[in-house]
């Protein structure tokens, strides 16, 4: 043992210093290791790729070390290898390993290592890469044959498909690199060509053609296809891109679009529910295949089990269904469903009797019984495709094979797997009938799957590719039906003909967000969103957002509630308030979403590990005591007697890298089933493996990691860290801290603060705050004005808020460093005095120091874009810019250049000044003429603006002008500010510095905050932030406020004391107004304040008189239309109650839409010109004033054949 230890210490002397003084090595307990120990040995080099894994393209290629042959890098690997040999090798290092590692120092360093490999938006990128590398090929393979109906001799076969890199496609020169920035500026789409290789039947021989383009695929930024992938900071800068930008979105028609993560109930899994009111138990399966998505239920009615499905008009007794699928013996049915358990047999008896009562004993009888009950639509669908009338038996067989439980395949009419599946469902229903607790929780995160961009795009591609093929076939038929063709049959040119259905489908769907795929019955709106660029955090928060498919109006609380199983997976704080509360969630920091892993190798492995194949077993053997069923992705594959050992071995193999690390396996003891899952969309996160009460990761490993010699992948491949999904987490015993590790512990958390997401991670000391305050901050952090990206000044966005002098927070968190908030901050460290000052600070209002404001506190820029496309019309004429002669309004044209009729950067534009003098052709339909009419673009808002940029470019249709205007704003009364603790307030007063209080060093606060903000809000975190911030300022260091950790209050107080301040953070202040010392000590120090985007200048509005709506002649609505201020229903009620009739008359009619009209007293209809059109006389016509809306109503009613009459009365 000692010889093994010695070299290890030499290799890593620093790390061993803490443990070298440990006790003498204990005697090693010889372990009867499993026979698979040879397999478990870690493999170091990535060169030996996993063969069992079918997902080769997705293998992270980050392990550069083993690829290049530099001696230093190899040395690093050898150190790691040595460490591994001690950890595993011939058990020698086990004792050495176990003694010295009381706590793994800096184990949180695994988190930055994880993020380096995975990134914050890895789930989007992985999903898209999976689609491009794997899924798209599968779709092609499934639709590879296009055969002509006219002449089946001719065909086109797709051999391969691949997607190129984004390039400027309309130039005929060599392919130009198309950067995302160029697409944003020119309003074009960042997309890459899709190429296929085809083989087709020529006139006499088969032809092949490579690289035929079939469409353009929008490319996700930073994915494998994107030019930004693996670029360093300077390369990114060269392309006009920000290195902090997470990517994961698309640029379509110049706008950045995100496909949000969608949360769904998992497909192809049995979910058992109970309705206690109706005393019903239902097992539900949503079968999802490439063809269709159907739901199958096994439900109870009067204690009997039925199969429910849309294909059938009524409930089918389960026994009849099973008999129709070939299990005719009652005993076999009983055994398959109930086993030997008498409780189940008793409960199932009634169902068996029912089948007998219906006189179905043979398979044929059962099929006939079902065939008579197949819903007419279904029968037509099935029959129609064969063009002949089918017998009921055939119809029933068809429905059972294809529609019921569609995801269980029926090959060569072998119904056995489907029978077993149906029996499993029935058994689950029986279990829930007998024991109410055996139902599933729909809100349990383990029963959820997340659908990402890749899946949605693959759905879209499959649909549009099928459309493409059917159109191709039509064109093919058209050519082939001609007897004499001009030239030989050329499939390549045929493909290029016709529109571009694939490209347009992608662009249309992503830019509108409507996924409407008739073929798959998918009809979804609002799938994509514009990436919010209000602040860096807003953009980042959008990438981790998960939207739920539940309706917002439903009053059930279950889906909205915080689920215990979302610990570490979904952020507990970051959810919106109001209607979407709890339905929109955010991913936590360390989560990963899986992509599909092929299950064939898993099946093979399971059988090798001793699983007995289900097809060799009878029901009798399935449910014997001690037997565990094994399910892979929801299908029963077999049983095992040694459940624990099987699971343990399987996990060992996974840790050794023999399967994908994202395969999960766990035992459900209630159902006595082992579940193996490899499907996509499961949420999982990494955890440190603990064995025999000792975490596998030690300080030595961390040292190598910190030295940059190893990456996160090494930890993963060497079996020190593994991914657990929610279900497997439930089967593990996870310690949060090392001190909590006991004998049974299986895993250790990497770092507790990773239960929070990226947005909630900005809050310092969130564990000291009342929880809703953290939620409020999560909403407000997205509205904070700050730096957005390194390329913020080159961007031309519709609306961009930038802070002039942003600062990184004094009190930061680990998360802040990880997401880069300290490099792109949104706020400033304000010195805050928590005290009352004047009366202008009630209701959370803040007092600002004028001198601070003068020096740039809270100053921001507002950049706005105006896009002016130069339209081209049908007759070839197009709009142009010009300099008018003579000038209509010389003042308004002061900055317009004679050469091009546009303003230039640097100009100041006042209200109604012209920015671009555009001219539109008078005749846009007929032959093009020379006549133009001016249609200038003017500045509409009252505040003057500066022109920041004038950009001209050639867009996808015609030339395009974009003007960026700028405004610099200093804080004013009513502007909104907030700290990072959900404490928002408006500026109530700006006070001259002379009137502000000051301490004995002459420090004057930037902000005075009213202390009444604290008691009810209980934001203790904010108080500690002030204390830590003050200590940080005095010590010249940044302090940490990381969740469940951070700088301790005691230490902070000590720093304050050392610097001659009160330990409590309170200072003696002198009033600036009276010059007297304050009567109390004031809590005084820096707090990070955010300026929020809601500013008075954008909201301030009043009008004396102004525009009216055309239809009703009432004042328009809204500030943008210079609208009036509404005297609403409730205000009206007040005036009625008070009896202020004249005021009412004035507000509701005279100042609004008074209309002088005439009414005929005899008939009560409206007249005009002293003439009643009905009475044909002017006798009783009198004048009166009514609201125009009333007149309109009368006329509209008359238009609907209702005659309202106005009956006059004398007013006295």
């Amino acid at each position: 043992m000692p010889p093994a230890r010695a070299p290890a210490k030499r290799a890593a002397p620093a790390a061993s210093s803490s443990c070298s003084a440990g006790p003498a090595p204990r005697t090693r307990i010889p372990k009867a290791g499993p026979s698979t120990s040879a397999d478990v040995k870690p493999r170091i080099g990535a060169s030996s790729s996993t063969t069992t894994k079918g997902k080769a393209p997705l293998r992270p290629s980050s392990n550069v070390n083993s690829l290049d042959k530099k001696p230093e890098v190899n040395k690093g690997e050898e150190e790691w290898a040595e460490l591994m040999r001690q950890t595993y090798g011939s058990q020698k290092g086990a004792d050495w390993y176990s003694k010295g590692v009381k706590s793994v120092e800096d184990k949180w360093e695994l988190l930055p290592a994880f993020l380096k490999v995975k990134g914050l938006v890895k789930q989007h990128l992985d999903s898209f890469n999976y689609f491009v590398n794997v899924d798209i090929k599968a779709i092609l393979a499934a639709n590879s044959h296009v055969v002509s109906d006219m002449n089946p001799y001719y065909y086109i076969r797709y051999l391969d498909i691949r997607v190129g890199k984004p390039a400027r496609h309309d130039t005929n020169q060599v392919a130009n690199v198309l950067t995302p920035m160029e697409c944003r500026l020119t309003d074009s789409t960042y997309s890459a060509p899709i190429f296929v290789d085809i083989e087709y039947q020529g006139e006499d021989k088969k032809n092949r053609q490579r690289g035929v383009q079939i469409g353009m695929l929008p490319v996700m930024l930073r994915s494998d296809l994107c030019h930004l992938k693996n670029k360093n900071e300077s390369e990114l800068a060269r392309m006009g891109e920000c290195p902090m930008d997470p990517g994961g979105y698309f640029v379509v028609k110049g706008t950045e679009k995100v496909i949000l993560v969608q949360e769904q109930l998992s497909k192809n899994r049995i979910i058992v529910m109970r309705d206690p009111k109706k005393d019903e138990t239902t097992a539900e399966v949503t079968s999802s295949t490439h063809d269709r998505v159907v739901k199958t239920y096994v439900t109870t009615k009067n204690k009997r089990l039925y199969l429910r499905h849309n294909s059938f008009k009524e409930f089918i007794p389960i026994v009849i269904a099973l008999k129709a699928m070939g299990i005719t013996s009652d005993k076999e049915i009983l055994q398959l469903i109930c086993g030997s358990d008498e409780r189940y047999q008793e409960a199932f008896g009634v169902s068996l009797e029912e089948a007998a009562r219906e006189k179905t004993f043979t398979r044929r009888q059962a099929l006939e019984w079902i065939g008579a009950r197949v819903s007419p639509n279904q029968a037509k669908d099935d029959g129609g495709s064969y063009g002949q009338k089918l017998t009921p038996v055939d119809i029933a067989q068809q429905a059972l094979a294809a529609m019921v439980l569609g995801h269980v395949p029926v090959r060569n009419m072998n119904f056995r797997p489907k029978c077993i599946y149906l029996a499993t469902m029935s058994r689950r229903v029986l279990m829930a009938m007998i024991d109410e607790h055996m139902v599933d929780d729909r809100d349990y995160v383990g029963n959820k799957r997340l659908e990402l961009a890749g899946q949605l795009l693959s759905l879209l591609f499959e649909d549009s590719f099928k459309t493409f093929n059917s159109e191709l076939k039509k064109r093919m038929d058209k050519i082939l039906e001609k007897k004499s063709r001009a030239g030989p049959f050329d499939a390549g040119s045929l493909i290029r003909q016709g529109g571009d259905p694939i490209t347009s489908a992608f662009v249309r769907s992503i830019s509108t967000g409507n996924w409407s795929l008739k073929r798959f019955h998918v009809e979804r709106a609002g799938v994509t969103h514009v990436l919010s660029r209000l602040s860096f955090i807003a953009a980042l928060g959008m990438m981790t957002r998960i939207s739920s498919q539940f309706e917002k109006t439903r009053k059930v609380s279950g889906p909205r509630a915080l689920q215990p199983s979302q610990w570490g997976m979904l952020c507990p704080s970051d959810t919106p308030e109001g209607e979407a509360c709890g339905l929109v969630k955010n991913l936590a920091l360390m989560t990963h979403i899986t992509t599909d892993v092929p299950e064939e190798p898993l099946l093979k492995m399971a059988f090798l590990l001793g699983v007995e194949d289900i097809s060799l077993l009878t029901g009798n053997e399935l449910y014997r005591p001690g037997v565990h069923l094994v399910q892979v992705n929801g299908t029963l594959i077999g049983v095992t007697h040694l459940a624990k050992r099987f699971v343990r071995t399987f996990r060992k193999l996974r840790r050794a890298g023999r399967t994908s690390e994202f395969v999960s396996i766990y035992i459900n003891h209630h159902q006595r089933t082992i579940y193996i899952a490899s499907d996509g969309g499961r949420i999982c996160r990494p955890m440190i493996i603990v064995e025999k009460g000792k975490p596998r990761v030690t300080s030595k490993h961390m040292k190598l990691l910190k030295e940059g010699k190893v990456t996160f992948d090494h930890f993963l491949r060497s079996g020190l860290v593994e991914y657990l999904d929610v279900n497997e987490e439930n089967d593990s015993f996870i310690a949060c801290y090392e001190s909590e590790i006991v004998e049974e512990t299986t895993h250790l958390e990497i770092e507790p603060f990773t239960i929070l997401g990226a947005v909630a991670g900005l809050i310092p000391y969130p564990h000291h705050n009342q929880s809703p305050r953290n939620t409020y901050q999560c909403a407000m952090g997205k509205q904070a004005i700050g730096a957005i990206a390194y390329n913020q000044l080159n961007r031309i966005d519709t609306l961009l808020y930038l802070m002039t002098y942003p600062q990184q927070p004094m009190v930061k968190t680990k998360t802040i460093e990880l997401v880069g908030y300290n490099k792109l901050p949104a706020g400033q460290n304000a010195t805050v005095a928590v005290m009352s000052y004047s009366g202008y600070d009630i209701e959370d209002a803040l007092i600002l120091n004028r001198a601070s404001v003068d020096r740039g506190f809270g100053r921001c820029h507002v950049l706005k874009k105006q896009t002016i496309p130069m339209r081209t019309f049908a007759n070839g004429s197009h709009e142009r810019t010009a300099y008018p002669d003579p000038l209509p309004r010389p003042d308004a044209y002061a900055f317009i250049d004679r050469a091009d009729g546009m303003t230039a950067p640097g100009a100041t534009v006042n209200q109604f000044d012209v920015m671009i003098h555009r001219e539109t052709p008078i005749d846009t339909r007929g032959p093009s003429t020379e006549g133009y009419k001016p249609s200038p673009i003017t500045h509409k808002l009252p505040e003057p603006i500066q022109i920041d940029k004038v950009m001209i470019t050639e867009g996808e249709d015609g030339s395009l002008i974009k003007i960026l205007t700028r405004q610099t704003r200093r804080p004013e009364l009513g502007d909104k500010f907030s700290s990072r603790h959900g404490q928002k307030g408006v500026c109530g007063l700006i006070v001259p510095q002379a009137d502000m209080p000051f301490n004995d060093q002459g420090i004057v606060p930037d902000i005075i905050m009213n202390p009444h903000g604290f008691p009810s809000r209980m934001t203790v975190g904010k108080m500690i932030e002030l204390l830590s911030g003050k200590a940080g300022v005095l010590a010249g260091k940044l302090q940490y406020g990381t969740a469940f950790g951070g700088s301790k209050v005691v230490d902070m107080s000590q720093i304050l004391i050392d610097n001659g301040f009160s330990y409590a953070g309170k200072d003696m202040l002198t009033s600036g107004i009276t010059g007297q010392p304050m009567e109390a000590y004031v809590y005084f120090g820096p707090i990070y304040y955010q300026k929020l985007k809601h500013m008075v200048m954008d909201k301030m509005h009043a009008r004396p008189t102004g525009p009216r709506a055309n239809l009703t002649r009432q004042p328009t609505e809204g500030r943008s239309k210079d609208g009036g201020l509404r005297l609403g229903e409730m205000e009206r009620d007040c005036l009625i109650g008070y009896g202020a009739t004249q005021l009412l008359l004035e507000r509701l009619m005279i100042s609004s839409d008074a209309f002088e009209t005439q009414v005929c007293e005899t008939c009560g209809m409206l007249g005009y010109n002293n003439w009643c059109p009905k009475c044909k006389s002017g006798k009783g016509v009198i004048g009166l004033t009514i609201p125009y809306a009333a007149k309109l109503l009368i006329q509209e009613l008359m238009g609907m054949n209702i005659m309202p009459k106005l009956c006059m009365e004398d007013t006295v």
């Binding site: 160029e182 810019t881 091009d900």
Partner: protein, 75 residues
């Protein structure tokens, strides 16, 4: 140009001593968004940098004298 003078005398009663205002050029040299080269273009021409073929062009800063109005703060 006379309109310009009017504009400023209106706004500011005590203008700076009269300066020779550079005459705006007849054709404007636009700046390429990629390489920074200047390209003179007419409105009717295709928008493209002569040097690198990039198609995003920016207008250079105005030659006119700009006087910023002082933004009065709210009291």
């Amino acid at each position: 140009m006379s309109q310009q003078a009017d504009r400023y005398s209106q706004q500011n009663p005590n203008p700076m001593p009269a300066r020779s205002i550079p005459k705006p050029p007849e054709t404007i040299e636009y700046i390429c968004g990629d390489c920074g080269a200047k390209t003179a273009m007419k409105t009717s021409e295709l928008i493209r940098c002569r040097e690198c073929g990039h198609r995003v062009m920016y207008k250079p800063r105005t030659t006119r004298i700009v006087r910023y109005q002082v933004q009065f703060e709210a009291r």
